[in-house]
Point group: C2
Chain length 355, copies 2
């Protein structure tokens, strides 16, 4: 069972993953990147993963081919789904059991697809799956927050090449989410408005940092971008919880996310990147001060001692310059890629199990 | 002139380094690691750096051979030493000019030395230089905090191989320092004691996370270590500002830092790592709640989307296991390395200029 431990100074929690423990000599050789072995995420290899939790299918039954998106438990989970929280002290420190969920969302049955070559309908399927998993997991009273994220490429920490994202649901609110919510609440208490709504308004009016503007979303390089080509996708209407997203917004977000990732892929020649869905904790009803959004972070620069120690970032590309470039780039998928588009709209999920 | 911009939500500042700006295609190829070109930090190549600010010398004059440690301005500074802060708003955002100091401390005249092969006397020279530079720069009323750090190896963000550390002095207190100070103050207000003093007491009494214990310092793997083999070096007597360090403590710290880095080098086969000196801002007198210390972070694991989004870290090596291993490992320098030891004690600095 992994363990959660709290840093007593800044209040940051860490997951000490005993099960993953390695001997020091395991670190002497850098871990290999993408492997050329048989991929457990490819259609036909369903038996190589734990039994699926959810799938959207065109045909077939659980753990068989025929799916478009498939959710499985992570085979090496950071947190364990069974058990009590067992909160206690350890001398001056605080700890609890590493209870939570760690799931993998396999975004396509095919191995060689990327953001630019996936059809938009597949991106929409993934966005619906995100919603469905949050709705399901928030019923577990031990858990309070779900973090959806995607790691692409070795520099972004991906260990498998096949397109996938992940969901980690934790029994405490992550400190970064807490800091965002606290900052947004301060602004709300002072101004009486949501700071993200204000940002959308300012960005769409000055335009110079906007990458893409659609009826439901604004994608822009934030004023204080930490990283070159960092891009945020923010809904135009106020909504604190991703899982409350509605059909027309999903249709639009499928387009925006596909475009933004496609532009980055073309502009930066398939960079490593992360994206993270920032959304409110489960245990709050609709919040007037917090606003869910997606942060996309290309991993082009190394984070070094100064950044670790200070929390300052050094960004060599002004966001205005990054946005101007991304606006111009066309997110054209390479020729010859099958575009198995389906009409927009909520797919009929075929749940193949429960968590 | 670089620009400082503030994230309006969490209050984090970033440095937008216009001078370093690169075109997007510059990012298409990963930056090269250590270069095989002529090293500007080697003895004899003094003309390849900007004029030195400070040097400890056995002989010779400014910008000539004969030095043991040498401080020069960074040729590509993140911040500019000249200019006014020029604080102003930009719509809803806040910015100021990127004023500050960015210096490089060249730790040895020889190219092929590492923590394990440098003599302890050279480490002590570096520790005295750290002090001298902070004492000098804190006289500049525009600047409020000095961050000393070292990047070793490509995964830790080092771009040059020659042993060096850096100092970045900023016109605002970095958010991570602020968070540490805030957390430590809360503890102090509640308990009436310094939390770092309490940690030293608990760690030396339970022993299982201690790597090295000397008269003046305790080196231990912290309870909530974010990274495998993360090690903190904390002074046993309370002191908030590194620059107030005294002779006996420098002598001891030279030994402890040399041992800890040497152990990591042997145990993990010369890993990439960062170390960071955490010290109080300039504009405070001695603080009862804050305690300077050094955090050493081997860079063995990749930081991915979950960590970026949540502030949670997943550490596969329990600190008790890491400490047990590091206690046993001997930080023996390879045979045949010249050990040009000098007696302990404050060196006579030869200042070769002023900042």
């Amino acid at each position: 069972m992994p363990e959660l431990r709290k840093d007593p100074i800044v209040g940051r929690w860490v997951i000490i993953a005993h099960e993953r423990a390695r001997r020091p000599h395991d670190f002497k050789v850098a871990p290999a990147g993408t492997s050329s072995k048989v991929c457990p995420f490819c259609e036909g290899n369903e038996a190589m993963t734990p039994p699926e939790i959810l799938a959207y299918r065109d045909h077939g039954g659980p753990d068989a081919p025929g799916w478009r998106v498939r959710v499985v438990p992570n085979r090496f989970p950071a947190l364990a789904i069974e058990g009590d929280l067992d909160k206690r002290g350890d001398g001056m420190y605080d700890r609890m059991a590493g209870v939570g969920a760690h799931e993998v969302i396999i975004e396509s049955p095919a191995h060689h697809v990327t953001a630019a070559t996936l059809p938009e309908s597949a991106v929409r399927d993934v966005l619906w799956v995100y919603r469905d998993r949050l709705v399901d997991l928030k019923r577990d009273r031990r858990l309070v927050h779900g973090m959806l994220f995607k790691n692409v490429g070795e520099n972004a920490g991906a260990s498998l090449e096949h397109a996938h994202s992940q969901l980690i649901v934790t029994p405490i609110v992550p400190i970064s989410v807490w800091e965002e919510m606290t900052g947004a609440l301060e602004f709300y208490n002072y101004r009486g408005r949501c700071i993200y709504c204000d940002m959308v308004q300012q960005e769409t009016s000055v335009e110079k940092r906007v990458v893409l503007d659609t009826p439901h979303f604004t994608a822009f390089c934030p004023y204080a971008s930490r990283f070159p080509f960092e891009t945020w996708i923010v809904p135009k209407s106020h909504e604190s919880h991703y899982e409350n997203i509605q059909g027309p917004a999903v249709d639009d977000l499928g387009h925006v996310l596909h475009q933004v990732l496609g532009k980055l892929e073309v502009a930066l020649d398939s960079p490593s990147y992360n994206y993270i869905v920032h959304t409110a904790p489960f245990d709050h009803s609709e919040l007037p001060h917090y606003h869910w959004h997606i942060e996309v972070i290309p991993r082009l620069t190394k984070v070094a001692g100064f950044e670790w120690g200070s929390g300052f970032y050094i960004n060599p590309v002004p966001p205005e310059q990054a946005a101007a470039f991304l606006r111009e780039v066309e997110a054209t998928p390479p020729a010859g890629v099958p575009a198995r588009e389906r009409p927009a709209g909520r797919p009929q999920p075929v749940a193949s199990g429960t968590s």
